[in-house]
């Protein structure tokens, strides 16, 4: 059987302001992931970098160390490659006052 390979849409048309994150996603079966973020609308204000967070339990989160740009224009896409992330995975960002981005976040996971 071919190894599992999943595209999971973890945030769809969600507007991020302030401290925002995708819902906890379990991907312990996957050895690697690429996270894509697409801006569905024109972002507003200065955008911070997004960060990858991992967790033992889906409730207490650690900064995994990876950071990547958020897309700066409507339909622009950014991504981050990941490996060795344990089980729970999410993308988080802390946007300054006045900044907003509407995102489509997808995880592309491979066993």
């Amino acid at each position: 059987m071919l190894p599992e390979n999943l595209t999971a849409v973890v945030a769809r048309n969600e507007s991020w302001t302030g401290t925002s994150a995708t819902e906890p996603y379990e991907a312990g079966w996957a050895k690697e992931a690429i996270v894509f973020v697409r801006a569905l609308k024109q972002p507003k204000g200065p955008l911070p970098k997004a960060r990858i967070e991992i967790s033992a339990d889906g409730m207490h989160w650690c900064h995994e160390g990876s950071e990547f740009e958020l897309p700066s224009a409507k339909d622009a896409v950014t991504f981050q490659r990941l490996s060795h992330f344990g089980n729970f995975l999410r993308v988080a960002a802390t946007l300054p006052d006045g900044a907003e981005i509407t995102v489509l976040v997808t995880f592309h996971l491979k066993a």
């Binding site: 599992e4 999971a8 973890v10 769809r12 906890p24 996603y25 079966w29 089980n87």
Partner: protein
């Protein structure tokens, strides 16, 4: 049943009972799918709402849905729980907001309008954010079919049998099975005149299944789970439920009915099945499926 059919039935039963994976199900003669989530997602995906031109057109009930996941049921206090006979189960998780729902769906069509049987091993639990039993934090766990007659077999309807276990509401531990006959008003989407939407999982219009009270094993702390067996028999010819069983209880279905709405122009022979979870607190609700077997008599 004639002698030849009887021998075939005996042979089929002997083969199935010698296979541990099949032996815990009681399928009709033809297995349409046997989804064990140790083999991956098995065609279960998220229920995305309808839209045209913009995702903003999606009803909020659907916009909240997210992707199911392959889970080992990991817990902060004792680690991975695992499934009935393997490491993984399908996990349906809501957002941490009272009333939030999430759905996992599998989309098929049928080739004979006859009896079908849905069997599953399931469990549910809230996110263990408190050191408390939390038995009233999950509002409901449930499942549904979304069905429509074949294009030449009408007149007929789009039929949506729903059942949910109303575990709790506003902190009250209720524990009973309910069904639904009504959905929200049908609303056009966009301007092309091709797409409509309605939210059949709206919190209104649930009705009690007569005799549907059931106390399920929940266990004694917020992280331990026990797996439950579920079986739902439905006749696609009559578009009626015929039998419903959970663990040792078989429920009378005389008082049961489905959501029935006019057939739609692009859903012929549709056979969709879905499971859902709903939270009653600002805490994530988790529904888990170890395995699902759908079978038919054809």
């Amino acid at each position: 049943m004639n002698a030849s059919d009887s021998r075939l039935d005996d042979l089929r039963r002997a083969i199935r009972e010698s296979d541990p994976q099949l032996s815990r199900f009681d399928p009709l003669p033809r297995i349409i799918c046997l989804d064990d989530f140790d083999r991956g997602m098995c065609g279960w995906t998220q229920l995305v709402g309808n839209y045209e031109d913009t995702l903003d057109a999606m009803l909020p009930g659907y916009a909240q849905h997210s992707h199911a996941m392959l889970s080992t049921l990991p817990n902060w206090d004792f680690g991975s729980h695992g499934g009935v006979d393997g490491s993984y189960a399908l996990k349906i998780a809501t957002r941490p907001r009272k009333g939030a729902q999430n759905v996992a769906i599998k989309r098929l069509t049928f080739r004979k309008a006859g009896p079908i049987r849905l069997e599953a091993y399931f469990t549910f639990k809230p996110e263990a954010t408190e050191l408390a039993l939390s038995e009233t934090d999950i509002r409901s766990f449930g499942f549904l079919y979304d069905l429509q007659i074949g294009d030449t077999s009408g007149p007929g309807d789009r039929v949506m049998p729903h059942l949910r276990f109303l575990n709790a509401q506003d902190g009250q531990h209720i524990q009973k099975w309910q069904f639904k006959r009504r959905t929200t008003p049908i609303k056009p989407i966009g301007t092309a005149g091709k797409t409509i939407t309605h939210y059949h999982l709206a919190p209104d219009d649930w009705e009690d299944l007569p005799g549907g009270e059931q106390r399920l094993c929940y266990n004694e702390i917020p992280t331990k789970v026990n797996w439950h067996y579920l079986r739902f028999d439905f006749d696609l010819a009559a578009m009626q439920a015929t039998r419903f069983q959970v663990n040792d209880r078989v429920f009378a279905m005389d008082g049961y009915d489905c959501i029935r709405i006019p057939a739609m122009k692009n859903l012929w022979c549709m056979l969709n099945l879905a499971f859902f979870a709903e939270t009653d607190t600002d805490k994530r609700a988790f529904a888990y499926l170890d395995s699902v077997c759908l079978s038919g008599d054809f």
